[in-house]
Amino acid sequence: MASTVIGAGITIEGEIATDEDIVVAGTVRGKLTAKDSVTIEHGATVEADVVGGSLVVGGALTGNVTAQERVDLQSGARVIGNVKAARVTIADGAQFKGSVDMDV
């Protein structure tokens, strides 16, 4: 069970920081930082720079992403921004515009 959940009807404009994980099903504008996993669910809208341990995107994300471990863009995801992580997957059906930096 995720420690922090931004429900589908909720909009947060500002800064969210957590030492644990976070699931976004609603809207976040600003900045999103988590020590553990960040999940942006299908239907969610995030216009923010995201820093996390790992990141799974199924929804819409505009912003730059930095993950300690990995970034997975699922089918249906729509991502505009630069992605920096050691491991990155982009599933068939994901839309992505930006650069990928795997630090090679």
Binding site: S3, G9, E15, T18, D19, G26
Partner: protein, 143 residues
């Protein structure tokens, strides 16, 4: 909107939860219930119930929601369309407005209460229950 996953742990797709390790600085608005276990700085506007759990801190100029249940620490004014409850252990500084207001034993509160209610005719002095009362300027700590 249908909930596609149960892994979120939320009771409902529109429910939200700010975990104990989380800090939010900014504006929170929307539909659904919100449970705050962590720290929130900023205004909260909800069409749903707000719960400020034990150990949580909320600093806000304005909070508006349906029912508001406070067991943690709150600095700010509350406008509730439903009931407001300050549970034992709550620390609240600010003005409260709600359809009903409950302050449990052990809650600490400093601020104004605004809760319209009908006075019984023998107290209000008016017949036919026309009298209305209003509690205000309540300040104090219980325990």
């Amino acid at each position: 909107m249908a909930q596609t996953r149960t892994a979120t742990g939320a009771r409902d797709a529109s429910d939200a939860r700010i975990g104990s390790a989380a800090r939010v600085r900014g504006r929170i608005q929307g539909q659904g219930n919100l449970l705050v276990e962590g720290h929130v700085e900023g205004n909260v506007t909800l069409r749903g119930d707000l719960t400020i759990a034990e150990g949580a801190t909320v600093t806000s100029e304005a909070i508006s929601a349906q029912a508001v249940h406070i067991a943690g620490s709150l600095e700010g004014n509350v406008t509730a369309s439903g009931a407001v409850r300050l549970a034992s252990g709550a620390r609240v500084r600010g003005d409260l407005q709600g359809s009903s207001i409950v302050i449990d034993d052990g809650a600490r509160f400093s601020g104004k209460l605004d809760c319209e209610f009908d006075l019984p005719p023998e107290l209000g002095g008016a017949s036919q229950g026309e009298a209305r009362g209003r509690a205000s300027n309540v300040s104090g700590a219980r325990r």
